[in-house]
């Protein structure tokens, strides 16, 4: 399930960019002489002795008045776009305060996360917990809860209590709708040797 807009944007861009690279790359790779003879008639072929960049054409473009500003603007714009995009992949911090319905009242998302961590760690069978509360647009909260299970504890044994923990958090953050992503892991334990009986 694709849940965030960023995932959709990333995947669309990866797919579109990958398709463009695949088409260009396969066209270039198909110019090999042994392959080129077996291509169908509709395949776009180049004339012989062509080069990737003709110096004459480049010199002609450089003499045009619009060429230099266009290339400069495009490169600066693309740099900004890609840098912004790359920075957007960093994990968002939960530093922004959450506004409560009363004017001027806020809550620290970290405080909510710490309370949820304390409550989830108190569940029997849970070794360790890490929670993050991320404010989202439009009165939504996203809670990421990672729980390390004690050895020999099954998800079935802790899920009802963890559901209660998330229900508590939803109740506390009331005007906000909280969506929880719960990840269960095994606590790192020393590897058990073979059973000797």
């Amino acid at each position: 399930m694709i849940r965030t807009a960023r995932t959709a944007v990333n995947r669309t861009a990866l797919g579109a960019g990958g398709l463009a690279l695949l088409l260009t790359g396969s066209w270039l790779a198909a110019t090999d002489r042994t392959v080129a003879r077996q291509l169908p008639t509709w395949w776009p072929i180049t004339r012989t002795n062509a080069v990737l960049l003709e110096p004459g054409r480049l010199a002609q473009l450089r003499s045009e008045g619009w060429w230099t500003p266009t290339v400069m603007t495009a490169s600066i714009g693309l740099t900004t776009l890609f840098a912004y995009w790359a920075l957007g992949q960093l994990r968002p911090g939960s530093g922004r305060r959450l506004a409560l319905p009363s004017p001027g009242c806020t809550v620290r998302p970290r405080a909510l996360a710490e309370a949820v961590t304390a409550r989830a760690t108190a569940v029997p069978g849970v070794a360790r917990t890490h929670a993050r509360v991320l404010p989202r647009r439009g009165r939504r909260l996203e809670m990421e809860l990672r729980v390390w299970l004690a050895p020999d504890t099954s998800p079935d044994a802790v899920l009802p209590a963890l559901r209660a923990v998330t229900a508590e958090a939803e109740g506390a953050a009331a005007p906000y709708t909280t969506h929880t992503r719960l990840r269960l892991s095994a606590a790192a334990t020393p590897r058990r040797g073979p059973h000797v009986r």
Binding site: M1, N10, A13, G15, G17, G18, L19, L21, L22, T24, G25, L28, A30, T31, D32, L52, P55, M72, S75, I76, T79, F82, A83, W85, A86, Q89, L100, P101, S102, C105, T106, R108, A111, E114, A118, A122, L149, P151, D152, S154, P155, D156, P160, A161, A164, T166, A167, E168, A172, A174, H179, T180, R181, R183, L184, S185, A186, T189, H195, R197
Partner: protein
């Protein structure tokens, strides 16, 4: 002169320097009053207040610790009303509002786990797989694209403003491009690598990813849960390892299939196999996986294994050991 501040704090002496006939309430007094008012609303919890008094109004800001779990919005509204009313009443200043910042939440001291809500047995829907956000590949590709475009932009700016010569890498790139055409081995290889990169990006775009996590059924709305495959693996391994007679267990967890390979030291083979199957199935079903994977069991006897003799004569060393446990 100032008098008549029923504050717990003493009045500062600087008030005497102000003009006669006005009542000045110091910021410190307002702050202490606000703190006491917060303590009235929240018994037993420390609060920190800051106050500024520009003219006849007081601006109060509080940092409070609230008990958890309770609805934050209601608690904060009550505190705000109480503090505003009490501060206005005690100082006579106009207190338009108080800013309440919840800086921490205090869970109950007795670390009793929360009461579980009744389980809804009819799960509304089968949860889907988690889809990765593809952050790492996107970050890698966009960073390299930004570096390439940035280098080009920087060099263009240097050439056209500082009138320096173009960088060597740009000259050599143009030279290489104008010397090689389609059909050259280098161009063919570069094209093939580009096509591979494109295939990799398309695969990343259309596959869900997060292969090491399996979605778990939860009966709760707005809760998505997943369990690491390594956790499933260690659960199955420990459950099978507790079957009597089993020495070594190897478990492989895949998305649709779980393979268990166990070695048997003693005991009846068929019984041990049935016990291993039951233990593995129980462990897998306790994980509430979205799709129950098939469990494939192989129980191989150890070289020292011997078929059990009549059950009433525990004379062999292996059987005696079994009785000891």
């Amino acid at each position: 002169m100032t008098t008549a501040v029923p504050a717990p704090a003493p009045l500062p002496a600087t008030a005497a320097q102000r003009g006669r006939g006005t009542t000045t309430v110091s910021e410190r007094a307002v702050r202490r009053i606000a703190e006491r008012a917060t303590a009235e609303a929240l018994p037993g919890r420390a609060a920190r207040a800051t106050a500024t008094v520009p003219g006849r109004t007081a601006e109060v800001s509080l940092g409070v610790t609230l008990p958890y779990p309770s609805p934050l919005a209601d608690a904060v509204r009550n505190i705000q009303h109480h503090v505003v009313d009490r501060t206005r009443e005690l100082t006579g200043l106009d207190v338009p509002t108080a800013q309440v910042n919840v800086t921490s939440l205090a869970p109950p001291r007795c670390s009793r786990p929360p009461v579980s809500p009744p389980e809804e047995t009819n799960s509304p829907r089968t949860p889907g797989r988690w889809w990765s956000g593809r952050r790492t590949p996107t970050a890698l590709l966009t960073t390299s694209a930004a570096l390439a475009c940035g280098a080009l932009a920087l060099d263009l700016i240097q050439v056209h403003t500082a009138h320096s010569a173009a960088a060597a890498w740009r000259v050599s790139a143009v030279h290489w491009l104008s010397g090689h055409g389609p059909g050259d081995p280098a161009v063919v290889i570069a094209g093939g690598l580009t096509a591979l990169l494109g295939i990799w990006m398309i695969v990343l775009a259309v596959t869900p990813g997060l292969r090491h996590r399996s979605t778990v059924r939860t009966a709760a709305e707005r809760v998505d849960a997943a369990v690491d495959r390594s956790a499933v693996r260690s659960l199955v391994r420990d459950a099978v390892g507790d079957v009597p007679g089993i020495t070594a267990v190897r478990v492989r967890v895949r998305r649709r299939r779980i393979t268990v390979r166990a070695r048997l030291a003693f005991g009846d083979r068929a019984e041990a196999s049935a016990a291993v199957t039951a233990a593995a199935r129980a462990a897998v079903s306790s994980c509430r996986l979205r799709r129950a994977p098939r469990v494939r069991i192989t129980v191989t006897p150890e070289p020292v294994w011997q078929p059990p003799k009549a059950p009433s004569v525990p004379t062999t060393p292996l059987a005696a050991k079994e009785v000891d446990q």
